[in-house]
Structures are given as C-alpha cells and as structure tokens.
C-alpha cells in the first residue's frame, strides 16, 4: 500500500455547525446560571435556622394575636428591632407551660442570667445602615420586608434584602405604604386590588410627605 493520507471523514462537516451552536448557547447559559444562582433571591431568601427554643410566631402573633411591639418593643424608637429579653417571655411563661421541655433553655437563662442564644435570620452586611424606626413610623409595615411572620412556625427570610430591593422601594414606595397606625396589622390590605392598594399608599405618601432618599450616604455612612 502507498503512503497513508489522512482524510477528514464526511461527517466532520457537521462539527462546524455544532461548534457554532455550542459557542452561541454556552456563554449565555453560564451568565444566566451565575446571575440566577448567585442572586440573593437564591442564596439568601429561605434562610431558616433552627432556633434554640422552638418559638412560634404563628401561635403568639397569629392565634393569640399579640402585637409585634409587645415583644419587639424598641422597633418604633430605635434602629434595631431587638429580640425580646427572657423576662418578656416570663410575663406569661412562669404560669403557662412552665415545665415544657421546649422552654428549658428559657428557664435556664432565667435562672442563670445568661442570654438565650437566638440565631439572627435577617442580617445586612456591616457596611449597610438600616433603621426600623424610620420605616415603621412612616407607614412601612413589617410585612413588606419580613412577609407574613404571623403565619410562620419558624421565621425565615422572604425578601432578598439586596441593595436593588431597598432601592426599588425607595424609588417607588407608593404600593408599600399605609397608615402608620396599622404597620403591625400584617393581614391588612391583602384583600385589596392593586389599584386600591396604590391609591391608599399614594394618600399616605402625601400625608406624611415621604421622599425616601437614594443618596449613597443614607445607607452607607
């Protein structure tokens, strides 16, 4: 036999279109997956740590109807909506379910003075400044940022808490505003149509003359 000549088989003509198709789909695929997968809506929303005491907002805030401010009583005065101290639970639990195993860490804390080590669910980066009083007193309800806490057995994060999310509302707060007296009524407004809700929000934006700031120094100070 003569010298061997390599000849591309005929099917290799297919490789060119295959490469083009791959080159056109792969980069958008990667970009899309990174944007979708690393978005705070994927990485942050749904964080639901197991707390040392199986405290249920659905029972306390929902069924028993205790107002958020009974426990988070600093929310109207300060930047922070503090987690209640052990004493607040003891107002009731010295008498209700005192021997419950679920409440053991609470009673240990009551006797020793050591804090109950609740795990923080909503956690902004340390370089961002947030203020509860500024929002709550101007008619932004807990439900806009924390969801229906009063139906949750275990608290989890429902909003991304990203900078885009903050700014979306600061640019157009109308659909999220209400009477400042109703901020802890989480079920308020759910039966309204969008148009009614926006009309109501627009009314309160005017009454309280709200103009949320978009300056960097508002939130990065």
């Amino acid at each position: 036999m003569g010298r061997y000549h390599f000849v591309f088989p005929r099917w290799s003509n297919l490789l060119l279109p295959a490469i083009i198709v791959f080159a056109l789909t792969a980069p958008p695929y990667v970009v899309f997956m990174v944007a979708w997968g690393f978005s705070p809506k994927t990485t942050d929303v749904g964080y639901m740590p197991t707390q040392p005491v199986p405290f249920s907002h659905a029972v306390h805030a929902g069924e028993l109807g205790i107002d958020c401010r009974y426990c988070h009583n600093t929310v109207e005065y300060t930047a922070m909506a503090a987690i209640p101290p052990t004493q607040t639970c003891m107002n009731c639990h010295l008498q209700v379910h005192p021997d419950s195993v679920k409440l053991k860490p609470l009673f240990e804390s009551y006797e020793t003075g050591m804090p109950v080590e609740w795990i923080k669910v909503h956690d902004l980066p340390d370089y961002a400044y947030f203020n509860h009083a500024a929002h709550v007193n101007r008619g932004v309800s807990c439900v806009e940022c924390h969801g229906r806490i009063d139906t949750m057995e275990v608290v989890h994060q429902v909003e991304p808490l990203s900078m885009k999310w903050c700014l979306d509302c600061h640019r157009e707060p109308q659909p999220h505003l209400r009477d400042p007296d109703l901020v802890t009524q989480l079920e308020w407004g759910w039966a309204m149509t969008d148009a009614e809700r926006i009309a109501e929000g627009t009314k309160w934006a005017e009454i309280n003359q709200l103009q949320p700031s978009q300056d960097c120094s508002t939130c990065h100070r």
């Binding site: 005929r10 297919l14 990485t43 639901m48 205790i66 401010r69 009974y70």
Partner: protein, 260 residues
C-alpha cells in the same frame, strides 16, 4: 467504493461516531443539574448560612446590638450599666412622674408632664391594645385571648399543659380597681402585682401614664348610664350581644383548633 442507497449516505448525522452522541447527551443532562439545584434552593427553606465566597467587609471587627462577644462571661457584647450608676435618660428626679408616688404614698393626680386630652387617650388605647389586651381583654374585663387559651390548657391533663397554672387577670372595671388612685395604677403597671409582671422595661414612662388614663376612661365608660351618651336613645342595643357572640365563636374555634 460501492454505491449504497444515496439517501442514507447523505444524512451525515447518522455517520457521526457513537461517542459524539454520548457526549452530547451527557452534556445536556449535566446542563440541567444547575437549574435543578437552583430551583430547589429557591423553593425550600434551608438551615445553613449562605455561602460567602467574597467577604466584601460584610463582617467587620465591630459589635452591633445584641451580638455575641465571648470575652465576657455572659457572652453579651452589650454591657449592663455599672451598679450604682444611672443613665441620663433614666434619671428618677421627679417621683410623681417616674414612680407615681408623692411623699411616699400613691399620687392622686396626674403629674404636670402629662396633659389628659383626647390625644393621650388615643395613645393610651393603642398602647393598652399592645401590652394589656392579651390578658385583660379589649375592654379590660379580664378575658383576653391569652387568658382564654390558658383556661383551655387548665382543662387538659398536666402532662399536656406542662404544669400550667393561671390566675385570672383582674377585671379592670371592678370596684376595687376603679377606686384606686392614678398613682397606684401607674405603680401596678410599672412594677406588677402578685401574678402580674411589671412593664417598666417594655413601656416608656409617658406611655404608662397614657395607659392609666385609658384604663380610667374604660372604668368610667363601664358604669356610664345611657343618659350620659348624647343620642343614646336612638342607639340599638348591640354591644353586649356582639361581645358574647365574639367570645363564644372564639372559644369554639379554639376548641376545634385544639382537637384537630
């Protein structure tokens, strides 16, 4: 070269080596894994902290409220005031305003810092709704939702109710309390009484006076005769009937909720 059926040889795809098909199928399957993982992450809550590849000064070496600092024995980064010291805002200069006492006995008048008007009563109503209603009920009769729930628990075996005991919250409109001075009411709210805890830590001083004013308004309203309400003759006798309906409906609901 023998000529086979022309059609078949034209259809190049079938001439590709098998390996190409396997690789293509594998890659398509592999490409479906990330979206599946992402959809799962988006739809189910999870217990683990977010993965934090780039730290971005998210956690700075400083302490914010209620954080942990293991340098201290109680792990609290927030320190308690040194014993014997008083923060400026917590100064008790005026016992009438801050403690509800004048010369060692309960004050019988409102302190000068408080003006009793409609705004104060409105504030008191709102604050009463937050801090007192769970036990004492909307109009102070001692039948709040927590009381109702506790009574239900008392009917259960101690092993289910975990040793629940319960003293009924007082009916704030009964004579023994209606005859108390404003100072004594303020003192009870601040420091508690027997089985009721004090609310000084939860309610600022001015709001406690607003609650006192509202409790007094409830007491007056409870004894009010029809003549003292303008136009009362034309009002239908609704209120009492409604109240009973509501409590019965609530209790029924609670029972059902518990049984299921």
């Amino acid at each position: 070269m023998s000529s086979g059926p022309k059609r078949q040889s034209d259809f190049l795809l079938w001439k590709l080596p098998r390996g190409f098909f396997y690789v293509a199928i594998l890659m398509t399957c592999a490409a479906l894994i990330p979206p599946a993982l992402i959809i799962r992450a988006r739809s189910t809550p999870r217990d683990s902290r977010r993965i934090h590849l780039i730290q971005n000064m998210d956690n700075q070496p400083k302490y914010k409220g209620q954080q942990q600092n293991i340098l201290f024995r109680d792990n609290r980064a927030m320190r308690q005031p040194v014993p014997g010291t008083v923060a400026r805002s917590q100064m008790v200069g005026d016992t009438h305003f801050h403690l509800g006492t004048v010369d060692g006995s309960y004050a019988t008048t409102y302190p000068s810092q408080v003006t009793v008007d409609m705004d104060l009563l409105k504030r008191g109503q709102e604050r009463f709704g937050i801090y007192c209603l769970p036990c004492h009920g909307a109009i102070g009769e001692g039948d709040g939702p927590v009381h109702n729930r506790a009574m239900m628990l008392l009917n259960l075996a101690p092993s289910v109710s975990n040793g629940t005991t319960w003293v009924q919250p007082k009916n704030l409109r009964e004579e023994a309390i209606a005859s108390q001075s404003v100072g004594q009411l303020f003192f009870t709210i601040s420091n508690g009484k027997n089985n009721m805890a004090g609310y000084a830590a939860q309610i600022p001083v001015a709001d406690r006076w607003a609650i006192v004013a509202y409790v007094q308004a409830l007491q007056v309203a409870g004894d009010a005769s029809n003549e003292s309400v303008p136009g009362a003759d034309s009002l239908p006798e609704h209120r009492i009937v409604m109240d009973e309906d509501v409590t019965e409906a609530e209790v029924d609901e609670d029972k059902e909720g518990n049984g299921s």
